[in-house]
């Protein structure tokens, strides 16, 4: 009898377990939220979200597409100041840009394009979403102005590189807004100027230490001057540069030391892309700006090397030659010996970070800020505009201010320019820009906007009415279903 009871209870228990389990299987069992990911609908609610969104825009400015190979290919390789670098057989795609044989399917064209539009999307996210957040009105206005500044900066880089580009000013609401046609170059410039004007009216002249590196009023006005320069709006250039010159900026006394990490965000700095080596966070220490240009095999990969043409472009004794070019076998002011056994004669010294700062597991030179706009550039733009507007006195004053700093107190070199003949003075300013701003990704588009592309780059294969801009990336044209049109001369 006992046996029966046992069996009975076993049977009951088994059946019961099954029934109970089925009952316990409620719908909740399948309701599992995303793990370790914040749904976007919960974002853009608080002032903290607004701050994070603005921070993200700045962070992306140091991305690979913005500062490394693709930026170098688009903004530097075509010039006469830089060579491909590294060993002859390494990353030979740069030669396509150097020799102007690049076609629309080349990957860096898409990379640079996407990199700029990523900045623009991050800015648009802020511009579309932050206005709806209830927060301090002053801070909100500043955030929006910062976003406008970076959007303008990115469109400026785009319009220089590709001419007619897609003008995207909002986050697309749905897929009907994905595919937009190109806007005329002039319309793009107009939007850039609008953004900069609005940004300049809000941005503060400076920030406290915790915000050092955010866009200032000076940055917005200074960039506006440069945008005007590319459109030959001389009056505007003069106005804006004069304005910046009244904001308390000055040249950093030592040209060479101005490019070292300890002198980042100096008095000369109008806008810099901020980068840092953050211990314990290699992913945030992701700037490869210095690495790709660093001394090959010692402190980086050795690309975008100064050319022999650049090395001979400096006036005799100009200390900027030594400060711009790291020579094979030289010992740097910081005491590093550039080995004799490196594949290139010259490396970019403006991106140089002393070898001792290297931390394994991090990109070499991840701490180096990228100088986007220096006060020296403001002065040279001021000089150029003044000269174009027949004011050689102001032109000479600004120009010689730059030369005086370069001279570093050595009276025997870099004498003041004295000519007041417009064409001569213009040449002198062009030359000064060339040596003062060498290896800062300025030269290539500078020569083109001066109208001297064929004259300077022609021997390398540059052709007028084609190479003023690079081709629109082919994939982008294909994905647009032919809505985007290729630039003339490229197919």
């Amino acid at each position: 009898m006992k046996k029966y009871i046992n069996i009975q209870s076993y049977c009951a228990a088994a059946a019961f377990t099954a029934v109970l389990f089925m009952a316990s299987c409620k719908k909740d069992f399948l309701n599992v939220p995303p793990q370790a990911q914040q749904p976007s609908v919960t974002f853009w609610k608080t002032p903290e979200d607004a701050l994070k969104g603005v921070n993200a825009i700045y962070a992306n400015l140091r991305s690979w597409d913005n500062v490394a190979f693709n930026a170098i290919a688009i903004e530097s390789t075509g010039s006469d100041e830089a060579d491909k670098g590294s060993t002859p057989t390494d990353a030979t795609f740069f030669n396509l840009f150097d020799q102007f044989t690049v076609t629309s399917t080349q990957g860096s064209l898409q990379g640079f394009w996407t990199g700029q539009y990523q900045n623009i999307n991050l800015a648009n996210q802020v511009l579309d979403n932050v206005p709806n957040i209830s927060m301090d009105a002053g801070l909100k206005a500043r955030y929006l102005a910062e976003a406008k500044f970076i959007r303008a900066y990115s469109y400026f880089r785009l319009v220089r590189a590709y001419g007619n580009v897609v003008l995207r000013l909002n986050v697309p609401k749905d897929n009907s807004e994905y595919n937009l046609p190109q806007s005329d170059k002039a319309a793009v410039y107009a939007q850039i100027e609008k953004d900069l004007t609005e940004a300049a009216s809000v941005l503060p002249p400076s920030y406290g230490a915790a915000d050092l590196g955010r866009a200032t009023k000076g940055a917005a006005v200074g960039l506006h001057a440069k945008v005007a320069l590319y459109q030959k709006k001389w009056n505007d250039v003069l106005t804006y540069t004069n304005q910046v010159m009244g904001m308390g900026y000055d040249l950093f006394p030592d040209f060479e030391k101005g490019f070292r990490t300890q002198n980042e965000n100096s008095i000369e700095s109008v806008f810099e892309i901020q980068a840092e080596l953050i211990p314990g966070n290699a992913d945030a220490s992701n700037s490869q700006y210095s690495q790709v240009q660093g001394v090959a095999g010692v402190m980086g990969w050795g690309f975008n090397t100064p050319s022999a043409v650049l090395a001979s472009a400096f006036e005799t004794g100009d200390p900027r030659r030594d400060a711009t070019i790291l020579f094979k076998g030289e010992t740097t002011p910081q005491g590093d010996l550039v080995p004799i056994s490196v594949p290139n004669d010259y490396y970019n010294q403006k991106s140089y970070v002393p070898f001792s700062t290297r931390v394994s597991g991090f990109n070499e030179g991840a701490q180096q800020n990228i100088r986007v706009l220096r006060f020296a550039d403001i002065l040279l733009m001021n000089a150029e505009a003044a000269n174009e507007l027949d004011n050689p006195t102001q032109a000479l004053s600004s120009l010689n201010r730059v030369r005086a700093r370069a001279r570093g107190g050595n009276a025997s070199i870099l004498p003041n320019v004295t000519t007041t003949i417009k064409a001569e003075l213009r040449s002198a300013i062009y030359q000064e820009r060339r040596v003062e701003l060498a290896m800062e990704n300025d030269r290539y588009f500078d020569v083109i906007r001066q109208g001297r592309g064929a004259e300077v780059f022609g021997p390398k294969g540059w052709k007028a009415n084609k190479n003023e801009v690079w081709p629109i990336p082919q994939t982008e044209i294909d994905l647009s279903g032919g809505l985007l049109k290729q630039n003339p001369g490229y197919n």
Partner: protein, 1003 residues
């Protein structure tokens, strides 16, 4: 509630009835069971008293003893033999001779949630016996299946402890998981490399959709059912299996020596525009360093397995221990695996059986540096391993540049990474038989795993490019906590000409994965005891984690009906709910299947024919799903990656934003498959032939939709369920087994699988997915997946020749003499990405195997051959050049070096221009045929072994991969890879052969 109680009492009442049946007057019956063929005793034969669950098994000598009613009937059953019934009739000794069922017909195969006689199966199921796996002396159970089952393609990875890649009937997904579902004793896994191959009793591979469909939403890549070894009633049987062996690298690629390398580099420099000065003033540098010789070794491997099993009438047990110690063929690389397994089954009462299986596994590997084989390939032979002063040879001292800036010996010496894996898994179950025909089974399974990867980089300096300015400790921890509950109810009844099995079941599963990664710098290392993050620099410590959680709940049912053993019908349905798709309309999915079979030889009209001993036609259709699609894909999330951290005043500040489009709602991939098979037996089933045709279509497979770069998203594409993928093919299996008069027993079995893979109907149209390599293929993408073509085809330029002179190349911007001359497909006079064409297909069309067994007297011989045909490999080792990587000897000997020297091989300037872009020169045939396994065994005569108290002692010699034949110019055409990155050969583990000596002992 009342109804439930009613049911329970009915149930209990019947439990009671069954007990009553067993009560009668008993006598003890003894006897011996032997094989009708070779008259050897048969251990493990089941003997049941007819109409009851009472029974026993023969012991190791074939003897049995059972207490049975004097008027009972004993039923003798043994797999592979025709069952027999013997009426007791008061006899106390009944010796039985069992006839081999000339296999197949009575063979039982494991299917989802049950077993079926092979003859009753209406789908395509590949079955492999445990002994065929253990005979491979393979360290991985899946690796041992290579070439064994038609349509199952297995790609081995050489890495000790690595899991082979398995593809069943072609690739049916691009973004989803590609591996099959493994079910081990009812518990579900993604991988079974924790299993000791000796613990496997049999493996069933469910190949067609109808057999898979009972596993529903996770079955689309096939299901591998593993049944582990159980104890048998009788005295304890102790089994020991051990091998010791050596692994030797085979089919090494010969590289250029120092003189040849220097010559080629100088040549390359002379061909640059403008020409560069020669790098080597003197090219007469002799042999230089042979890096493969330096870093590779003959590696030791040993494998030991010990099992003890046995049982009484009421309980059985099986306990096993396994130990594997395998050295990698590269220095310092080693893998050790310890496994312990215990299974116990108890017949608590006649109708109730309970039991459990539990496996504990621990493995520890000293890993090899990630890209060491690529480093060995590209390392320059002019660089010495060590300089005269004992320092490392430095490539920078030779100005070799980025392409070849590593001394692989230094890489090996300073690499210190261990991977430890712990796992405890198993299940407990209870099985209750009631009302004669009903069986209720409940099983609770768990799988708890922890994996730790611990890397330590010391502070060192081998050269400027190989140094670490600080030490770094890096710890990755991955935890898995999974459980599964399954309840099934089976109704089984045979009456007159009918047989019916009905199954209904319910399951719930929860899978949780948690990963944490932490690192710190400047951790000292005087002993392993120092390796804690706490000892590192505080500011340098970092920690990040992530997790995945998914739950499933499912219901299923199946009906198997047979009429007169002639007409068979199987139908099933499963309904799965998956948390991954919660919130969408696709939380629940239904997966039906139907199959029918016709055993033609059982028809009256076939009675007199002599040709077929078996002829069966079967057909089936079913639906399955692949839930292994990217996680939480339908939710737009906030990007708060470290790349968005902003720096102000040198201090990091959190950044976050939205950098993706609102994604389309994703759901699982749906597959529907049809299978038609013909099974034929000839010559009294000595020859068995099986032919299958299948067609499987993945509907709404996930496919890329490329997005405009101007949208500024972080990814250049989004994904959506929007393509169909089709796999169609044939499978052939022929087995001949016989015994000669002279006493030779043998079987020869050959199988061939033919598969064609194609993408169909991509909704977003002709926008292809370009993938394949990038960093591994000189920065270019080398595959394209597009509508109406196979997945992941190689895509690039078509080589038409080599430019012999600069004059010839002048018309093509960017080209010069010695460069590949590419076809200008669009005829625009310029070679760019628009001139690319399909270069090859990495999906093998044919996979085949030939498996043989011979036994003569005390000798046995196994010989397995396996291969693939009609497949292409992309030789990325050759093409991936950023500078002065070494060249192969083949390339050096055949390179273009002046007008008229070669029209197929380019000049040494391979990294120049577009020479290193994917092109037809790098795509080679990947066909191979291999002597996968050869084993010669000798069983010592019983007279000898019994002297040492052994039942059986066998010694054997075994060789794996001893002969490999292929035309491919790389190390191994067995490359593998994810669907859109398959067949790209770079850093592939070189092929090696293993030679083992082994012993099997049974006590």
């Amino acid at each position: 509630m009342k109804r439930i109680f009613t049911r329970i009492s009915v149930l209990a009442a019947f439990c009671l009835l069954t007990i009553n049946v067993a009560i009668a007057q008993n006598i003890t019956v003894k006897g011996k069971v032997i094989d009708g063929g070779d008259k050897t005793s048969l251990p493990g034969v089941t003997i049941l008293i007819k109409g009851t669950q009472n029974g026993t098994q023969t012991d190791a000598n074939g003897n049995y003893s059972i207490s049975a009613p004097a008027n009972a009937t004993l039923v003798f059953n043994f797999i592979g033999y025709t069952g027999q019934e013997q009426a007791v009739n008061n006899r106390t000794t009944i010796d039985v001779v069992l006839a081999s069922s000339t296999q197949q017909l009575e063979q039982v195969v494991v299917v989802g949630y049950g077993t079926q006689r092979k003859i009753d199966v209406t789908g395509a199921v590949g079955a492999v016996k445990g002994e065929d796996i253990s005979k491979q002396a393979s360290v991985n159970p899946i690796g041992a299946l290579q070439g064994k089952v038609a349509g199952v393609s297995i790609t081995n990875v050489g890495t000790p402890g690595g899991s082979p890649q398995i593809t069943i009937r072609g690739t049916g997904t691009i973004y989803g998981k590609t591996g099959p579902l493994y079910v081990v004793d009812g518990v579900w896994y993604d991988d079974i490399n924790f299993l000791n191959p000796a613990d496997i009793a049999n493996i069933s591979i469910l190949k067609d959709a109808s057999s898979q469909s009972i596993f529903g939403i996770r079955a689309a890549n096939g299901v591998v059912l593993v049944t582990t070894v159980k104890g048998k009633r009788g005295d304890a049987v102790i089994n020991y299996n051990g091998t010791v062996g050596v692994q030797k690298v085979t089919n090494l690629v010969e590289m250029a020596n120092a003189s040849e390398y220097a010559t080629a580099v100088n040549e390359a420099y002379s061909l640059l525009v403008p020409p560069a000065a020669p790098l080597f003033a003197n090219t007469n540098l002799g042999e230089g360093t042979d890096w493969y010789d330096q870093a590779l070794r003959n590696a030791f491997v040993t494998n030991h397995q010990l099992s003890i099993s046995g049982g009484t009438e009421k309980s059985t047990y099986n306990f096993s221990l396994g130990y594997l110690n395998q050295d990698g063929i590269v220095e310092n690389n080693n893998y050790k695996r310890y496994t312990a397994r215990l299974s116990n089954d108890f017949q608590v009462f006649q109708p109730l059986k309970i039991g459990y299986n539990v496996t504990g596994a621990y493995s520890k590997s000293k890993d090899a540096p990630t890209s060491i084989f690529r480093a060995l390939y590209s390392a320059s032979p002019v660089v010495p391993v060590f300089n005269a002063d004992g320092s490392y040879g430095d490539p920078n001292a030779f100005n070799l540049g980025n392409g070849s800036n590593v001394n692989p010996q230094a890489t090996l010496d300073f690499f210190n990474q261990n991977t430890s894996k712990y796992k405890i898994t198993g299940n407990v179950y209870a099985e209750l038989k009631f009302l004669q025909n009903f069986t209720f089974k409940t099983s609770i399974g768990g799988d708890f795993g922890q994996e730790e990867v611990r890397g330590y980089v010391p502070k060192y300096k081998a050269s400027n490019t190989q140094q670490s300015t600080n030490s770094k400790l890096d710890i990755d921890r991955i935890e898995n906590r999974n459980w599964i509950i399954e309840n099934t109810l089976t109704y089984d009844k045979k009456w007159n000409d009918h047989s019916l099995t009905v199954l209904a079941g319910q399951t719930a599963q929860r899978n949780k994965m948690y990963t944490i990664n932490a690192e710190a710098m400047n951790v000292p290392y005087s002993s392993e005891g120092d390796l804690y993050l706490a000892l590192g620099d505080a500011a340098s410590r970092s920690l990040i984690d992530k997790g995945e959680l998914s739950t499933f709940t499912s219901y299923f049912a199946r009906v198997n009906y047979g009429f007169k053993n002639k007409y068979l019908l199987n139908a099933s349905i499963r309904r799965d709910g998956a948390s991954q798709f919660f919130g969408s309309d696709n939380v629940w999915g239904n997966f039906p299947s139907i199959g029918a079979g016709w055993v033609i030889t059982n028809e009256e009209f076939m009675k007199d024919q002599k040709i077929f001993s078996n002829l069966k036609l079967r057909g089936s259709w079913g639906k399955v799903g692949n839930a292994g699609v990217p996680f939480n894909p339908s939710t737009q999330t906030v990007d708060q990656s470290a790349a968005l951290i902003a720096i102000f005043g040198g201090i990091p500040y959190t950044g976050a934003s939205i950098r993706s489009l609102v994604p389309p709602q994703l759901f699982w991939e749906r597959s529907a498959g049809t299978d038609v098979g013909l099974e034929m037996g000839f010559l009294n089933n000595r020859l068995n032939v099986e032919v299958d045709y299948y067609s499987r279509k993945t509907e709404q497979a996930i496919f890329d939709i490329p997005v405009l770069g101007s949208l500024g998203t972080v990814n250049s594409s989004i994904i959506a369920n929007q393509a169909d993928i089709q796999n169609r093919g044939f499978e052939f299996l022929a087995t001949w087994s016989d015994k000669t008069e002279g006493g030779l027993t043998y079987s020869i079995s050959g199988n061939v699988g033919i598969n064609n893979n194609k993408v169909l109907n991509v909704t977003s149209g002709a926008n292809p997915i370009y993938k394949g390599g990038a960093g591994l293929t000189s920065g270019y993408l080398s595959t394209r997946t597009v509508n109406n073509r196979p997945i992941g085809e190689f895509f690039g330029y078509q080589v038409e020749g080599v430019f012999q002179t600069d004059a010839e190349a002048a018309a093509w911007p960017g080209f010069k003499k010695g460069d590949f001359k590419f076809a200008d497909i669009n005829g625009d006079g310029v070679i760019d990405l628009r001139d690319r064409v399909v270069l090859g297909n990495p999906n093998p069309k044919f996979t085949y195997g030939l498996n043989t067994n011979f036994a003569y007297k005390n000798f046995d011989l196994t010989l397995d051959i396996q291969g693939v045909a009609d497949v292409d490999v992309f030789n990325a080792n050759l093409s991936n050049r950023f500078g002065n990587e070494n060249y192969t000897k083949d390339f050096f000997d055949n390179r273009w070096r002046g007008a008229g020297t070669s029209n197929t091989y380019a000049s040494a300037n391979l990294a120049g221009g577009l020479n290193n872009a994917p092109n037809s020169f790098y795509v080679e045939k990947g066909d191979y045929i291999r002597l996968r396994n050869i084993q010669l065994g000798y069983t010592l005569p019983q007279a000898v072994s019994s002297k040492w108290k052994m039942q059986k002692l066998r010694v054997f010699l075994n060789a794996q991969n001893a002969v490999n034949l292929f035309g491919y110019k790389g190390f191994s055409p067995e490359v593998g890879g994810t669907p859109t990155n398959a067949g790209i050969d770079t850093n592939v583990y070189p092929l090696f052969a293993t030679y083992n000596f082994g012993v099997n002992v049974t006590f």
